[in-house]
């Protein structure tokens, strides 16, 4: 029986995409290794990790991006881990909005909400008080929650602060 395992891949394309889309601090992703298992998920791991003879492997480091569809989709894990310094495609939300997103409910932005100036559409990093907590899909005036079903929480307990 063939054991499917993680294969190391060149991460140049993923690093370039992330930096271009989110404008995070320079060098943030330098040195990391990238792995793939199957066609969909790209994993990011410490440069020190050596798989050696390990098999089967269930995960290496952090899931970074889903590459199966037309657009790359950052994982929620990557949004939290690498999203603090994002300058583009990032949205600050209120506690109430964060609670909605973490319940997998959409957040509708009012017509006069300055946050509607988010460019185009696509996957956006959501931050509360400057702290990234997940990923949302911005389209048609709505922030659509991309929180994994297993990570849903009903009432997030966090400081109540206005969106920046």
């Amino acid at each position: 029986m063939r054991v499917e395992t993680h294969v190391r891949v060149d991460g140049t394309e993923y690093v370039a995409w992330w930096q271009e889309r989110y404008g995070t601090v320079a060098g943030l992703l330098d040195g990391y290794q990238f792995f793939k298992r199957g066609t969909r998920t790209v994993w990011i791991a410490s440069p020190s990790v050596q798989l050696g003879e390990l098999a089967p492997v269930d995960g290496v480091g952090l899931p970074f991006v889903r590459s199966g569809s037309r657009d790359y989709k950052p994982t929620s894990v990557a949004a939290v881990h690498f999203g603090a310094t994002a300058t583009r495609n990032v949205v600050e939300v209120t506690l109430t909005e964060a609670q909605q997103i973490l319940r997998r409910q959409p957040v509708c932005l009012a017509a006069d909400d300055s946050r509607r100036e988010l460019p185009n559409g696509g996957y956006v990093i959501a931050r509360l008080a400057g702290v990234p907590f997940g990923c949302v899909l911005w389209r048609r005036g709505e922030l659509e929650s991309c929180v994994p079903k297993g990570n849903v929480i009903e009432d997030l307990d966090a400081p109540s602060l206005p969106a920046c």
Binding site: S46, V57, D58, G59, L62, P63, V80, F133, E154, L156
Partner: protein
Amino acid sequence: MDVLEASLQRYRELVDDWAEFLDACRRPLPLVVWENPLRRDLARRLAEAVGVAADDGCLAALLRARGYTAEPVRWHPGALRVGGLAKPGLTIEHYTGVMHVQEEVSLVPPRVLGARAGERVLDLCAAPGGKTAGIAIGMGDAGTLVANDVRPHRLRALRSNCERLGVTSVVVTPIDGTRYPLQAGPFDRILLDVPCSCEGNLRATPGAAGLAQGRVLEGRSGLQATLLGRAWKLLAPGGTLVYSTCTFAPEENEVVLDYVLGDEAEIVPLGFDGLRFTAGVDRWAGASLRPDCTNLARFWPHLNDTGGFTVARIRKVAV
């Protein structure tokens, strides 16, 4: 004598203060959390947002500013005993991996293992992953930390915790630990936090008291011995293996070590500044055990106001 006391009677000769022990077993556990150094930037941002000093170790100030009490755990930097926080799993600090909730004595095995940056380390029965994350942080998230568990629902918890806490040096494997491939080794250090009868969790799960008896105990001991035998083969000469359980039963601790370990193993003494324990036993149920079993550390609930736990650090003598 109530049910709890009756179920713990077999340990009476091992406990220094029986009344205090029973009293502690009847109290709920304090809530302990630790600040994640891998998410210090996010802790700093949260602290600044609520207007508190954003120094290193700002989780305590952050929690206090949010109306909770937070007292440092003396023996473990970054760990806090927190009061007034009924649902820590719902906090932004937990959700974003700024902090992790873990029973205080569960912080002991990663500390005792002492893994360093660049080493190859195996956590053979790793789920749900709190100890794995503790080991990774001790390694500065640099090296190869293989976290293994065979049970699918536990694997999900393991991955979820490592990912939430932002550990990038962990490789998760889903393999039966009793048959872990030898070609995956050798490892510089191995944590073997074996499946056990869990009676040390009796303060969190009152029904856990008295689980260590009869066929359950025999089955656990057999599995533990098999796991230890396999882990020992995976350990490099000169390497360190930490064996731990959350049970009081010598049959799951000293007796297993005595049965499996040979002359090339040395159970070494442990010491902690600010954490009390009693020595392991070298005699149980009429049988003599290897003399260095007394170097195993037994953490009883009343000694530090924690759950029950036992830990042994074993060195593989280089040949």
